[in-house]
Symmetry: C2
Subunit: 405 residues, 2 copies
């Protein structure tokens, strides 16, 4: 698969987060000639939080992580193991057995209690996970742990992502630096499978599990929960954060830390969209003037997920009639005569009509940009929402229909 | 556009419905060299009912029809005028003026009160409707009225439909025949626009407006409301029925009449799916065992609208992992371990695993059929729902992205 035209120019330099180390290995779960498993080990004192897919058919590793986090207190050491190539989803009791075997192997090799070993799997659904191949690599992964291995970890969790995804921020609190760095995988596809999003963020901040969990959940609502490639939700989506505390800086309720973490999360979320299957346009849909924030999100998501809007963007067509349609079908309160639709600063429609200043050629030129801003003001209230998506192209169909499993 | 591979072999022979006449004409609203306006005139004594798009940005003709039906009592004469090529949607006050001009012209020419003249428009959004071109044809349309003109009307309302759509049933009630015949247009596309569905059904039955409206709304829930091509809802979708009473047979609360009307509606609904943009597969998704009928419909619609499921069907891939995903994301109560998924009679998944009797080659062979049945049993309760859809192909992208407005 060719590199996404929306890819960043380079993988960022990620800082070392004291208290966490990484290694990647070639376990041969499905792929040959590339790494497909990564292990991160967190020192004693680390707190861990996570948010996961709300799918009713979520995978065995997701269910295991959720159970462990619910029981998790303040932290001893912890570990995170992720494999690509097989999602261990819809694998019945065999899936539970696989998770346990991997967690036990990591516990034995690292000394981390099995109840603090978290796993994720991404790839084919419904095939038993050949966990022996992963277990056989745990000793190698443990021996190879290095503080500078986060970029290697980012590559090991890719499926058909066209680029590895990383982001980092440094924030100074009380004169002392706090580091945040994260990796993600996004809209890859392994038949028969769907795009799965996995995100792992590390910080040397001090923060207890409960406020860390609350902060992560809160920030997810304006970052990862507001991106969409094709409206489909994976059975494996996982977002975890671990705080090692090694900076010596307590960030509980610190707005600067929250802002920096949100920036890392938004950066990674945008990279997932930029690597959306077949994407050629990065689209920001900002809705204002809604009766409520919930209504604004309904309109933004209806627009972002509309196949007709997405194909118009692919065709570089300033097809605002389709945006009117999406607003209308969203279920949100809307009034044709108070609706304003803009492409960037170009007004397309206002007061129930095509805008008098609308110039087709200007709007068509705007649509040829790789980054498109669609601004929808409902003219009703103070509700706002911003979501990010990509276009729907022939390549999406090719990836998902033309290659047989 | 090539004829849909799912098209019926021929347009059906539609019976004459005494009390209604039709004519079509070339008004040149947008298309050249074909008919683009149809007028149906209903004799005194006809009752009229309708259901319409729930879009918050619905078109001027839709708003006008809804207002008139709400005020409509037992029937004098009535008329229905439909044009293709321009939807008169998002046209502000000019749209209202256009509707009034057309209704007044029809009233003058036919003697039907303007309050009983119903219109619909399908085509480009946001362009003022050149209603003078239609008004100029009203005298011709009135003079050309004929009882056998329903097929011509079906052709005049097409946009980029690849075939005209008609269906009919005869039902015998108390030894006397009652005729029902209807026409529809479906998933055509006129840039910048989206698929719009228009349906007109005529019967010689006797039934008052109120029970006719209730029956139509009820039957819509299991027919037109359970089809989806791409999840997008038009600003113009309209379904109307007129009962002329000329059969002399009162069908109020008659189950046989309801059954025959449902058959006509389902036939037309299926034809709309069969002409879905780019469709190569006609897909029936039947959900059983849900906690409620509402939950069953959530699962069926989530599956039918999933781009990943639709592209798998296009690729003839028995990709049941994507169906598991769609069930999981639907929001309905679901349990991985009680879920059963079948392709026709072939069991794909059961008891939280791929079914032991699953044979990839058999399922792949099944997927090569033009008609695919996906059966999902949730194993939880008695809720059921059936929806119909088509696959998502390169041709859909070509139609909606590659041709600029």
């Amino acid at each position: 698969m060719a590199l996404s035209p929306l890819a960043p120019t380079a993988f960022p330099d990620l800082p070392v987060i004291a208290g966490v180390t990484f290694a990647a290995a070639q376990a041969g779960v499905k792929y040959k000639g590339r790494t497909d498993v990564m292990l991160a080990v967190l020192a004693a004192g680390s707190t861990v939080a996570g948010v996961f897919t709300r799918s009713a058919t979520r995978s065995a590793p997701v269910l295991d992580c959720q159970a462990k986090l619910a029981a998790d207190g303040a932290g001893g050491p912890a570990a995170i193991l992720v494999n690509s190539g097989n999602s261990n989803a819809f694998t019945g009791k065999a899936g539970v057995t696989s998770v346990r075997a991997i967690c036990d192997a990591v516990a034995d090799a690292t000394g981390v209690p099995a109840g603090r070993v978290f796993t994720a799997s991404t790839g084919v659904i419904g095939e038993p996970l050949p966990h022996d191949r992963i277990v056989a690599k745990v000793a190698e992964l443990t021996a190879a742990q290095t503080a500078t291995g986060m970029a290697d970890a980012a590559r090991a969790i890719m499926t058909t992502d066209t680029f590895p995804k990383g982001a980092a921020q440094t924030v100074t609190i009380g004169g002392r630096p706090v580091q945040i760095a994260g990796i993600a995988k996004g809209s890859g596809m392994i038949a028969p499978d769907m795009a799965t999003m996995l995100v792992y963020i590390f910080t040397d901040a001090i923060i207890a599990q409960s406020p860390l969990q609350a902060l992560l959940a809160c920030l997810t609502d304006t970052t990862f929960n507001n991106i969409t490639v094709d409206s489909d939700t994976s059975t494996s989506d996982s977002l975890m954060i671990a705080a090692t505390g090694t900076s010596g800086v307590d960030v509980t309720d610190d707005a600067d830390f929250a802002g920096a973490l949100q920036a890392v999360m938004l950066d990674l979320a945008h990279q997932v969209v930029r690597d959306g299957e077949g994407a050629t346009k990065f689209v920001t849909i900002a809705v204002t003037g809604a009766a409520s924030d919930a209504d604004a999100r309904l309109v933004a998501m209806a627009t972002a997920n509309s196949p007709l809007v997405k194909t118009a963007i692919a065709g570089e067509d300033p097809n605002w009639g389709r945006i009117v349609m999406a607003v209308g079908k969203s279920g949100a309160q809307a009034d044709r005569d108070t609706l304003t639709i803009r492409l960037g600063d170009l007004v397309l429609a206002r007061d129930g009509y095509r805008a008098p200043e609308y110039v087709e050629a200007d709007c068509a030129a705007y649509m040829r940009r790789p980054e498109i801003d669609i601004n929808i003001d409902l003219g009703l209230g103070d509700g706002t929402s911003t979501v990010w998506t990509c276009d729907l192209t022939h390549t999406y169909i090719t990836i998902n229909a033309d290659y047989r499993s």
